[in-house]
Symmetry: C2
Subunit: 359 residues, 2 copies
């Protein structure tokens, strides 16, 4: 039996239950802005080795928690582990980002894709999850994650990062049924992967739809959200009598907040563009909200950081269901001391919004 | 006296007046997808020389009109001509995009910036406008353009393109008054520049707010839209008894359509994410709308292109005030024959939506 959770604010907030202070974690909280991360990364040699070595992935996952009283750990990994396990030959080239040696563009390519067994070809991820859970000792919950089928498809079809998404949209417009075959396989793979993370110890999961925001409303609903719903419907939502909340995040997806809130997920991630009050009014009481500080605020002075945190807390206002976060991953040049200011501001300033809940 | 305009659909649509068919032009219609453009560009040697040589800028401006029955020409130039004329040392490095030798980051840097006299340091642009107007001979109207103050500021402060906007947002959060000083100077410069283009012959103008979409709602209204309104209020809106319509385009600005529609402009540019019916309902009858085909549709088959054009025309429906366009610049790898299909589809399929207007 794992030790009982000492801090379950995150899980409660994601289920819109009372908390004494607003929980906070930060996208890419284990990352290049931390000198200790850069050291472990150098030790690993390259990014993919860091992801694939459970000891090292565990080490960097825990680094930000040693510095800041964050309310969650998030597995250190990459969304492209699934296509890598499908045999596409992933590597990271300096400056260029992820590259696949064998992009997926034809019916034959898609037919040849298998659905990876998470405890086989993705065992290094499950081992990392088990190790992190053990090392956390119940301090805070561990969040697992995966990329969305559409987002994984963009990298797989383009063969890496893209600016204009020529091949993946070409395929979508020219051979929509083939694109659906690919997305369906990816939805099955993501479901198996996240369920395996849950079985290994992940206490909440987040799905990153990094590129859903490049689609029209019609195409987002059909080629991205449909598969997110399919995954959410098939995830393990209770594990060892604990509820496993699911967070969806579509970058540049503010147009579709209501649709995301109706997908069956527990929480929706926000960027910083909309005031969180507007987002809350739009989703009603359907889901919790995660966000929504502009990551660039962390370049400002401690006083300004506190002001901006206060603005977001006031915008969300009284009531349940807010997990504080940045609207995007933390930038590599941010001063870690500013992160400390932000975390402290969220904890100290949010107390006032939760008083009534405890009475 | 310039010759009378033979095709004024664009100007009528921008003013929400009856037209017999929906006008169309394409962002970056003079560009790398055309072999004749690549030839002229090679002759010029580099991009900036192409912009700065009125004969060549005129040549490439007219190239797409020789191929396709487009309803407007747009000046071939770059939004960074203003900061270049301010003496920041603009150059384009292969693969890296625009770079400024002397970025603007301090009070002293901002104080030192002068407002360029368009007929002096930007005379090459005005000469291009005059030449294009003359060469067009009244075939279609000529659109002039500029970058928005916020967008120009991002390049000037970052020293070029950016991914995380560290310096410009750092300045905005840390020294908002200084940022406002910079934006006010840029608003004056853009106003003078566009008014000079109008005096030289531009028959409509468009302001590109390429980076407004990286801001929160509060910061967009304060640091970008405020200056767009200031410019719009000071533009020459009647020239030689012709109305000069103004189009605003904020990339990733769908959150703020209503605010843009209330800025005093005549038309708002759209990306492809929202159905144009939704955008039309949101702006009411306040402004015309320009857009909103996903540029990637041009990678699809002619049949699919016609289908997508039909969908947008049906979404806008009956009534005035639609200028067909892509939601972003045309991509370099698009087949020019597909552009011909798109232009023809707009003209032939839109006739049905304008029948009643002519009765």
């Amino acid at each position: 039996m794992p030790p009982p959770l000492k801090n379950d604010r995150l899980l409660r907030a994601l289920q819109r239950q009372p908390v004494e202070v607003t929980p906070i974690w930060l996208m890419r909280q284990a990352g290049r802005y931390l000198p200790e991360y850069r050291e472990t990364r150098a030790k690993a040699g390259d990014f993919l080795t860091l992801c694939k070595t459970p000891d090292l992935a565990c080490e960097v996952t825990l680094q930000p928690l040693a510095r800041f009283p964050l309310d969650a750990a998030i597995l250190f990994s990459d969304i492209l582990t699934i296509p890598d396990a499908m045999g596409l030959g992933l590597y990271f080239s300096e400056g260029e980002g992820p590259v696949f040696e064998r992009p997926v563009r034809t019916q034959a390519n898609i037919a040849a894709l298998g659905i990876p067994d998470p405890e086989e070809s993705l065992r290094y991820v499950m081992d990392a999850v088990r190790l992190i859970r053990q090392e956390l000792g119940g301090k805070v919950p561990l969040i697992g994650f995966a990329g969305s089928p559409w987002t994984l498809a963009t990298y797989m079809v383009e063969g890496g990062s893209s600016k204009n998404f020529r091949y993946v949209k070409g395929l979508m417009f020219q051979q929509p049924l083939l694109m659906h075959q690919l997305l369906d396989k990816l939805a099955q793979a993501v479901t198996a992967y996240l369920n395996a993370q849950i079985a290994a110890g992940a206490q909440a999961v987040m799905i990153f739809d990094t590129w859903g925001g490049i689609l029209t409303t019609r195409d987002y609903l059909d080629f991205s959200l449909r598969y997110l719903q399919q995954i959410v419907a098939n995830l393990t939502r209770k594990y060892e009598s604990q509820t496993i909340p699911v967070i969806l995040f579509t970058k540049d997806g503010n147009e579709w907040l209501e649709s995301m809130a109706n997908s069956g997920c527990d929480a929706v991630g926000l960027d910083w563009k909309l005031p969180i009050a507007t987002a809350r009014a739009r989703v009603g009481g359907k889901v919790a909200l995660q966000g929504n500080l502009d990551p660039c605020v962390l370049y400002a002075s401690p006083a300004r950081i506190r002001e901006e945190v206060a603005t977001i807390l006031a915008s969300f206002g009284q009531g349940y269901g807010h997990v504080f976060n940045l609207g995007h991953g933390i930038h590599p040049h941010v001063n870690p001391e500013h992160v400390a200011v932000c975390v402290d501001a969220v904890h100290s300033l949010s107390r006032a919004y939760h008083v009534k809940e405890n009475q």
